[in-house]
Amino acid sequence: MKPAPFDYVRAESVDEAVAVLAEHGDEARVLAGGQSLMPMLNMRLVRPEILVDISGLPELAHIEAEGDAVTIGASITQGELADWPELETALPAVAAALPHVGHFQTRNRGTVCGSICHADPSSELPLCLALLGGEVELHSARGVRTVPADEFQQGVLTTAKEPDELVARTRLPKAQDGERFAFLEFQHRHGDFAVVAVAARRAGDSVSLAVGGVADRPEVCHWSALPGDAVDDALNDLAWALGGGDDIHATARHRRQLVRHLGKQAIDATAAVGAGA
């Protein structure tokens, strides 16, 4: 199908973009890479009055590693981040997850912040944001605010972003010395959304596991200590706690089993000597 008619604005600055959003509110949608928005427009699942195109905005086309975090601007594509030379050392979980985000053709246009804004519960980049405890910087004509990952994604395709706000950048904490990461997912075909995706981080004795595709948003579980013989029980408890239902892709039971199975593989991988990602 074709999109319903809309006006189109190519913003030349963040100020211009937020001015349009302030005027039109929820009648406006921000277009960056368009790899989630364009299908919804084509299928007329959304019918905005006006699109604000921020793709290629120089102000937002930056990846910066400063201090303990990496800042990724809203016009940076998933492909550009994958090609960033420091990715493997600074963000090993993201480096492992990115090849699973769609296909290389969609990563060529799709943006990192766009995935985070779209907030699909089984999407890989929101999962990384949740695991790492990153944050999202929202701009509007009212000002700038920074929202932590846990408060940003609220449910299925639902975030803390107000209609007049623009996600300008996201900030992801860099891997610290001694931290180990792993990312795994089960999907029916390469490039599909994950049925279940997991990302794990180990720092000393403490272990964190983020799970996508089960609850209505990525959920993170922290254990201050998780000895090897406690992993199975901990994951079983987590699998039941996350809920998750039957759908066309998998049953709830299959999802619980994937949480146990992938969770264990990921946690074990972070314990292995030399497991960087």
Partner: protein, 169 residues
């Protein structure tokens, strides 16, 4: 700030396979429809129209992308490559096309332009791919008639031909 009215037809100028082209598009017009109906370059095919099948793959500024997930007005000023640009100057098959032809990698041919444009980008990034890498690279292109074995064989052949050509250049 450039605002384009929904009812207006706005000029879009781009470079298509090395030639300047110009047409007009409403903001909602997809790049696929612009290429096919405004320019008349019907080699780019349209199937699912929501980014799943890969039939409409073209290269924008050298990167393989879904033309159905791109607005024509976003392509203003861009360098676009399509299937029409893959043949040799004399009109004979280029290396990618020849490899698909010789390996029986198409039947109806509807999906083929998308496969070839994906490969034309991918084989520049990875000139000597493994079978597994080709499978992943082509996982975003769907063919419903040949099965994929011939397509994978053709991709390996095409990669070899392109490597040899690069050595000769």
């Amino acid at each position: 700030m450039k605002t384009l009215d929904r009812n207006g037809r706005h000029p879009v100028r781009l470079t298509l396979n090395g030639m300047p082209e110009e047409g007009f598009a409403e903001p909602r017009m997809l790049l696929t429809d612009f290429l096919r109906h405004e320019i008349g370059a019907t080699g780019t095919h349209v199937a699912c129209e929501h980014g799943v099948c890969g039939a409409c793959t073209v290269r924008i500024d050298s990167k393989a992308v879904r033309a159905c997930l791109t607005l024509a007005v976003q392509a203003d000023g861009a360098v676009i490559e399509t299937i029409e640009g893959l043949s040799e100057a004399d009109g004979s098959f280029g290396p990618l096309q020849r490899a698909f032809h010789e390996n029986f990698a198409l039947q109806c041919g509807f999906c083929t332009p998308g496969f070839l444009m994906s490969l034309s980008d991918y084989l520049e990034r990875n000139p000597d791919p493994t079978v597994e890498e080709i499978k992943i690279a082509l996982s975003g292109n769907i063919c419903r008639c040949t099965g994929y074995h011939e397509i994978i064989n053709a991709s390996l052949d095409a990669a070899r031909a392109l490597r040899e050509r690069r050595q000769q250049d």
